[in-house]
Symmetry: C2
Subunit: 204 residues, 2 copies
């Protein structure tokens, strides 16, 4: 956002870009400070002057990537009819979480969750928790309107998001070659929205 003015800031950004790519692509352990310096076109010492040590650079890079993913703009301001709105949201959410970038960040954070609990927590709050709250508010509104009969909206949001992730996401997580076709995925998403709406429909 802030345009770099000094030469220092330019190099800092180069380092951060290179680090972000390497950390998310190959994980923490497999990424060396030497390689980051080389890819950023600076010396290793310059990397250390800017970020102190590997951990600090790692945390900065992942936080930076989380911002870029932009989880916030998935639900519309004014909610339309339940089923079409949820279907649209489901498609957007699914596309987002199965994107290569999102998968890469998730994988890296999960892998380092034991060594860097601070980092995985940061990701968990900016990602899953954030979306849960957003959707829970949306479901509360539908409940208020009497279109859905939900006792615990936060719980229902968790259930909805979990269904949408489904199997395809796990396939990607494990890097399984054969993935589902776009048609199969759309069929799955539609079926899932229907299951959810039927499960929580108002009977009155």
């Amino acid at each position: 956002m802030n345009k770099p003015r000094t030469k220092s800031e330019v190099k800092r950004n180069q380092i951060l870009d290179a680090a972000t790519v390497q950390f998310t692509q190959h994980g923490y352990a497999a990424t060396s400070m030497d390689l980051i310096a080389k890819l950023a076109g600076v010396s290793k010492q310059t990397v250390y002057s800017h970020f102190g040590n590997k951990d600090e650079l790692f945390i900065t890079a992942i936080s930076y990537k989380c911002e870029l993913l932009g989880v916030g703009e998935l639900l519309p301001e004014n909610l339309g009819p339940v089923e079409p709105t949820l279907t649209l949201f489901a498609q957007g959410f699914f596309t987002m979480i199965t994107s290569a970038d999102s998968m890469a960040v998730h994988r890296t954070c999960a892998a380092e969750s034991l060594a860097h609990p601070h980092l995985s927590r940061l990701f968990f709050e900016a990602g899953p928790l954030f979306v849960i709250d957003k959707l829970a508010n949306c479901l509360t509104e539908y409940h208020r309107r009497g279109e859905l009969d939900i006792e615990d909206c936060r719980q229902a949001a968790i259930q909805f998001l979990a269904i949408i992730k489904g199997e395809q996401w796990t396939r990607l997580e494990f890097n399984i070659e054969e993935s589902l076709s776009e048609q199969e995925i759309n069929h799955y998403l539609q079926s899932s929205v229907r299951l959810f709406v039927r499960g929580y429909q108002s009977l009155s």
Copy 2:
């Protein structure tokens, strides 16, 4: 299963045990061949004579651990009424996938899925895919009896398993300290079974 007869086989088992614990507990990169040798009470060279290199030992150890987890015995032979049966299955499934051992293997396989696709595929088939098929058969039976109205039973199985995993599993994956209470979890599982049954109930 096979009782080791020679001294060689005893040492091989010691190595495999130590390797399994270390790899699942601390991951691939953080586990050194030196430590495995030390914990197994043998020399490093002995480790190499038995398993060639680190990768081969890794794959052998994880495969071994997958067998031990025993995913097969979650559904009863004779299916009772839908809701109680699914509730019991949900509890068993949830307990299994959130166990420390299961989490550890999952984490390790996912983390190494890029470097060892053969391994992650092995886990994916022995774990998630296996359970999906089992549950799909069960749902097919309920559909045949007319107790559930399911168009695609495999898809429905995926949906059910995804809901059950829910948020708590993700918390564990990211090593988030605050986890849900047993009461909250049971409430979630019951609510999820109800959602599923209502969403797929026969209307006739």
